[in-house]
Structures are given as structure tokens and as C-alpha cells.
């Protein structure tokens, strides 16, 4: 019935797997970096990720949420989740994380969002949508930049790499 005796062939084809579990150090979900660092990370976020083609969160709104988190820590978990999601992207953009020996900048902030996610989903509003969008934004860029596509033969992928290279190399 099945041409391939090993089902892993089908699993690989449909990409139902993820290669590694995410490991997080437990964090205080309402913890915040120093204000100057937070401001710098958010500046990196908007400098690096193009607001013209993706609209993740309005800069003024994010700034207001950041103020609210610093003025009244722990008061609003949604604000904390959104701010930490933005800080995670900003940390990735700038390469500045919280950990001393951190190899993946931004994971601390990401860990906080994960802790707050259950309540964020229960809140079930437009801010929840924004938080989820930011969390998913990274893999899109990764697939885009690394050029990994589940379809197609090796020759198709080679063609893809050549096309991307031809597009980008002369312009960088």
C-alpha cells in the first residue's frame, strides 16, 4: 500500500517535526531590563525590521506600554508580554541579550512572553494578535533568509539560491 516502508519519509516530506526543543531559563515574567537598555533595544527593533511591509506594533503605542510597565510592573500582563516580545526581536537585531554568556540574544525576553502567553490568549483581544504576530515573525525571516523550502528538488533549490543571490549580491 505504501511505497516507502519507513514512515519517516512522509513525516520529513510534510515537515511535521521540529529538530530541537527550546530550553528556557526560568524568569520572573514581569522582570524588565534597565530602562536605557529597553529603549535601545526598541530603537534597534525599528531600525532593523522594516515597518513599511510588516506592521507589528505602532512605535508610540509600544512606547506607552513600555512606560506603563516601568511605572507599574506586573499590573498589566499583556503590556509586559508585548514589550518583552518586542525586546526579544530588538535583542536579536542588536545582538544584546540579558544573559552574560548568552549565545542567543533575546531568549530571556522570549521566555517571559512564553510564561505570560496563557493569560494573553485568555484575554483574546487585538493586543493578543499583535503579541502572537511578533512571536511568529522570526521564523518567517529565517525561512526567507536561509532559503529553506519544503518543496522541490535539489535543482529547484539551487535555482532558488542563484536567483536570490543574483537579486541581493549586486545590491549589497
Amino acid at each position: 500500500m505504501y511505497p516507502e516502508a519507513d514512515f519517516s519519509h512522509y513525516l520529513n516530506y510534510y515537515h511535521t517535526w521540529d529538530s530541537q526543543p527550546l530550553v528556557f531559563v526560568p524568569r520572573d515574567p514581569y522582570g524588565l531590563p534597565a530602562r536605557a537598555i529597553a529603549t535601545s533595544l526598541i530603537a534597534s527593533l525599528y531600525a532593523t525590521y522594516p515597518p513599511e511591509i510588516f506592521y507589528l506594533v505602532h512605535p508610540t503605542v509600544l512606547s506607552q506600554y513600555l512606560d506603563a510597565c516601568f511605572q507599574d510592573p506586573g499590573q498589566n500582563h499583556q503590556f509586559h508580554a508585548l514589550v518583552n516580545a518586542a525586546l526579544a526581536l530588538g535583542a536579536q537585531a542588536s545582538g544584546i541579550g540579558e544573559g552574560v554568556n548568552e549565545t542567543s540574544p533575546g531568549m530571556d525576553y522570549f521566555a517571559r512572553v512564553k510564561l505570560l502567553l496563557t493569560t494573553v490568549l485568555e484575554d483574546n483581544n487585538v493586543v493578543s494578535v499583535q503579541i502572537l504576530n511578533i512571536l511568529v515573525y522570526n521564523p518567517i525571516l529565517a525561512v526567507l533568509i536561509l532559503g529553506v523550502i519544503p518543496h522541490g528538488s535539489e535543482s529547484t533549490r539551487c535555482l532558488l539560491y542563484i536567483r536570490i543571490s543574483c537579486t541581493v549580491i549586486p545590491l549589497t
Binding site: H15, W17, D18, Q20, L22, Y49, P50, P51, E52, I53, F54, Y55, L56, H58, T60, V61, A88, A91, Q92, S104, P105, G106, M107, F110, L121, N124, N125, V126, S128, V129, Q130, L132, N133, L135, V136, Y137, N138, P139, I140, L141, A142, V143, L144, I145, L146, G147, V148, I149, P150, H151, S153, T156, L159, L160, R163, I164, T167, V168, P170, L171
Partner: protein
């Protein structure tokens, strides 16, 4: 890059999260034209800023969902015919809408690619030709600010480069057929 790589290895959790985002957005009617909310006391008195904010959040969610499903080869959760949301427009206090509109159009074509090219039923050549035509039309109609310059030493913005990277990813996929 390390964080990107870590996230890259976690496509399925990302896929689940964007599914949740779409479901929440649908629950709040973000996919529907503002006029359809006229009887809803929560949304009928939205300011122009909040309205534009919601429009852009919806289309960004749509773009992320379509792009992820396209890149992973999975069917989308919402059909285009169920969406009648206004397209983003230029408004004071927001980035220009041109880029987001072009990205939205490209995301729609990506949805068509998933539907017609990577479908379970037999592919039809005319559908694939339609998708290819849509892609060409998309590129031909790009606003001048989103085009890659003729000057190879020019420095296009990151937005323009990312948009063209996505376009280039969509185009050669058709050689799979």
C-alpha cells in the same frame, strides 16, 4: 542569527501561534469591513487611528499566515472570499501604506500558489499559468519606491529587499510542477 536559527527549528509552534492569532482576529471581526461593525457598540466609535491600526494588524496577520503556510506547504486557514477588510491607506502617524499593500498582494498570490500548485488534487496548467501571470502583474505594478533600482550600487531599503526576496522565492517554485 542564533535566535533566528533557534526559531527556524520551531516552525510548528510558530504555525500554531499564527493559527491562534488568526482565530482571535476572526473572533473580533478584524477580517471584515468596518461598516459591518456598525451595530457593534465596541467597534462603532473607533477613532481613525484605531481603525487604521486594526486594518494594518489584520493584514500583517494575514501576510504572516499566508507566508508561513506557503513556506511550509500547508493549506491556509482562511479563504480570501471570506475577507472584505479595507486595504491599508496612508494616514498621518503611520508608515506609508504602499509597502504593506504590495506585501498583502504578494501574500494573496502565495495563498493561490498553495491552493493551485501544492494541492492534493491534480494540478491544472491553466491555474498555474494564472498564478504566474499574477506574479508578473504584481511585479509590473510595483510602486517606483518598491522597485529594485537599475543602479547596482544603489542601496535599496531592507523592506524592498525582503519584498523581492519573497517574490523570488515564489517564482521558481513553479518549476516544481
Amino acid at each position: 542569527m542564533p535566535l533566528i536559527h533557534t526559531y527556524f527549528l520551531h516552525r510548528n509552534p510558530s504555525n500554531v501561534k499564527i493559527g491562534l492569532a488568526i482565530r482571535i482576529a476572526l473572533a473580533h471581526g478584524l477580517h471584515r469591513r468596518h461598516a459591518t461593525h456598525a451595530t457593534n457598540p465596541v467597534t462603532q466609535n473607533l477613532s481613525a487611528h484605531t481603525l487604521q491600526n486594526n486594518i494594518r494588524i489584520w493584514w500583517t496577520t494575514y501576510i504572516i499566515e499566508r507566508s508561513l503556510e506557503f513556506l511550509m506547504g500547508r493549506p491556509s486557514q482562511i479563504r480570501d472570499e471570506d475577507i472584505d477588510r479595507e486595504i491599508p491607506s496612508d494616514q498621518s502617524g503611520f508608515p506609508p501604506a504602499t509597502g504593506l499593500k504590495a506585501h498583502t498582494e504578494l501574500a494573496k498570490i502565495m495563498g493561490d500558489i498553495v491552493s493551485y500548485v501544492f494541492r492534493t488534487r491534480r494540478r491544472r496548467k491553466e491555474d498555474i499559468d494564472d498564478v504566474l501571470r499574477s506574479l508578473r502583474r504584481w511585479k509590473d505594478r510595483l510602486a517606483p519606491s518598491l522597485r529594485l533600482g537599475e543602479d547596482e550600487f544603489g542601496s535599496p531599503s531592507r523592506s524592498v529587499l525582503l519584498l523581492h526576496l519573497l517574490y523570488n522565492q515564489a517564482t521558481p517554485l513553479h518549476s516544481v510542477v
